[in-house]
């Protein structure tokens, strides 16, 4: 049985990875999950300098999911490179670093610093809905997606994953723009902008007023978008949005994703990622699937 998949020349032992921002840099979850079992660990967004993030409350639970407005708090690339990359290098898994910024120069700065590290892929977050200055501003306009992808590619030595926002009218337009800019891989979806009001207290549930919706509540939207994008571009896709078990993960793979990320579900069960890996293997045995690649985009 072959569970390995290929992302722009990087071979992952299986298609299961973590979703950025839900797994830190892996250290905390390593008490519950053997990181060696994962296809890749995707780290929390990191910028060129430390960011303090948004005021609290930063999260709120909603039916079948949650809203978050962490605000991309991060320790800055220097601390990250000295502490988090060496930690992850101890494990037999691929390292994908999620990069955030306020300006194109910020992104390029981080990408350049990571060029000579042992990081396997870079994921460029142009889709965070919770930070005014950057992120989403790039991710909702096809022209700026193409432009920033081109810029980042100039500095990158690793393959580049562009992470797309679902908060757009036509996701395929954004996907094609990223591909035209030279993206090696696409990942989707980031969170959907949402809001919750605490009726008893007559206040917004999170300090930022709006937050990104994630978890099972977004899964059907995410599966639809992955399917559409898979049929619009030729680069591999990392699918995510509400994956809680192997069945959910397989839905994305059958829709056209080469790999999948588990995010919010880590919060309801810290062992989810490893359970998804085992569940996919079990499915392959039950359905006599020799190679997982035969499942990618099978449902047309």
């Amino acid at each position: 049985m072959n569970t390995s998949v290929n992302l722009a020349g990087v071979t992952l032992k299986n298609p299961v990875m973590t979703a950025s921002g839900t797994f830190g840099s892996g250290a905390e979850y390593s008490e519950f999950v053997d990181l060696n079992k994962l296809g890749a660990v995707v780290t929390k967004g990191v910028a060129n300098v430390p960011w303090p993030g948004n005021p609290t409350p930063r999260i709120a639970e909603v039916y079948g999911g949650m809203l978050n407005a962490i605000g991309l708090q991060n320790p800055g690339i220097d601390v990250f490179m000295n502490r988090d990359i060496p930690f992850l290098k101890q494990y037999d898994t691929k390292i994908i670093v999620n990069v955030c910024g306020k300006t194109t120069e910020d992104y390029c700065d981080v990408v350049e610093k990571l060029a000579d590290t042992e990081v396997d892929l870079l994921e460029i977050n142009i889709s965070c809905p919770n930070v005014k200055e950057g992120g989403i501003a790039f991710g909702q306009n096809a022209k700026s997606i193409e432009a920033i992808t081109k810029e980042v590619k100039k500095y990158a030595k690793q393959p580049i994953i562009m992470k797309l926002s679902p908060n757009v009218t036509d996701i395929t337009e954004m996907a094609k723009a990223a591909e035209a800019g030279g993206a090696d891989v696409l990942s989707l979806i980031n969170t959907l902008t949402g809001m919750k009001i605490d009726v008893e207290r007559q206040k917004f549930a999170i300090a930022n007023k709006t937050g990104g919706l994630s978890g099972p509540a977004v899964k059907p939207v995410a599966v639809r978008m992955v399917y559409q994008v898979a049929n619009a571009v030729n680069v591999p896709i990392i699918g995510m949005g509400g994956i809680c078990n192997a069945e959910d993960a397989l839905e994305f793979i059958l829709a056209g994703a080469t790999a999948v990320s588990v995010g919010t579900a880590n919060f309801s069960n810290p062992c989810t990622t490893a359970e998804v890996v085992a569940g996919i293997e079990d499915y392959m045995r039950r359905h006599n699937v020799e190679d997982i690649k035969d499942l990618i985009g099978l449902v047309k």
């Binding site: 905390e28 993030g53 930063r58 039916y63 919060f267 309801s268 069960n269 810290p270």
Partner: protein
């Protein structure tokens, strides 16, 4: 692998000990390493509620491998927990966070303060703390709970909002009226109480350790949902905030901003 575990625990007993306040003993290996001031994350069986509920450890019974959790029903999750009967199962992760630094009380006059649903963690602390003097102040709306457990382990001074028991007013009023002096304070309670205590402790130059609260998602330090502002740059985050679930929930009052 560390000492934290995630497992399905069995409920040993469940009872309503005061209005909307429940006491639940669960059998879990998390009891093995648990310390006063730490908490556990309880998961709902209803899958539409994804996030764990942080609940403080009220008592630890290492022999029976059990933890006592005392909680107030305030929403859907705690309502679900209150309906579990003995024998039912609940997913739990813990022990989480750092407990109270009990060594700070050795040979000193310790003042333990609980406010409202912040009273439960004070029980195990009062049981284990070794100090020259142990005074316990607990603030309630009106009905007292856990007072027997507290009386057994120190001098107990209640305060109630309506004056129905003890001093009428806040925990600060109770400290002043009973002339309680202290070398070190350990406290858990609502943010306004902690804010008042921080001020009181700074004024009187008393070392104070407070247990803080914030909405949590991961409960283990990975998501950065639960931060509080800190005076100094935090070593892990590299900015002026710290993770309550990981570096906390107990902080030196001097080091945090409320």
């Amino acid at each position: 692998m560390g000492e934290k575990i995630k497992e399905t625990a069995v409920i040993i007993s469940q009872e309503e000990i005061s209005e909307d306040i429940y006491s639940m003993w669960i059998k879990t290996k998390a009891s093995k390493t648990a310390k006063p001031g730490q908490f556990v994350a309880l998961y709902c069986n209803d899958g539409s509620r994804m996030l764990p509920r942080p609940i403080s450890i009220c008592e630890i019974d290492k022999e029976k491998e059990a933890l006592r959790l005392v909680y107030r029903v305030v929403g859907k999750g705690t309502d679900e927990f209150s309906k579990y009967h003995a024998g039912a199962e609940v997913d739990v992760m813990g022990p989480l966070g750092n407990g109270f630094p009990m060594e700070r009380a050795e040979g000193k006059k310790a003042l333990l303060i609980g406010g409202g649903i912040g009273v439960p963690p004070i029980v195990e602390l009062a049981k284990q703390l070794k100090a020259e003097e142990k005074n316990i102040v607990a603030g309630y709306r009106n009905l007292l709970f856990l007072e027997e457990e507290l009386k057994k382990n120190g001098s107990f001074y209640p305060a109630t909002e309506d004056g129905s028991a003890g001093v009428k007013g806040t925990v600060i009023d109770a400290i002043k009226e009973n002339n309680i002096d202290a070398d070190v304070i350990f406290a858990c309670g609502p943010t306004p109480m902690l804010r008042a205590l921080k001020e009181y402790a700074e004024e009187k130059n008393i070392e104070a350790w407070i247990s803080m609260e914030e909405k949590m998602a991961c409960g283990i330090g990975a998501c950065l949902a639960c931060v509080c502002k800190t005076k100094e740059k935090d070593e892990h985050t590299n900015v002026n905030n710290a993770r309550i679930c990981k570096e906390g929930p107990v902080f030196n009052a001097e080091e945090v901003e409320l």
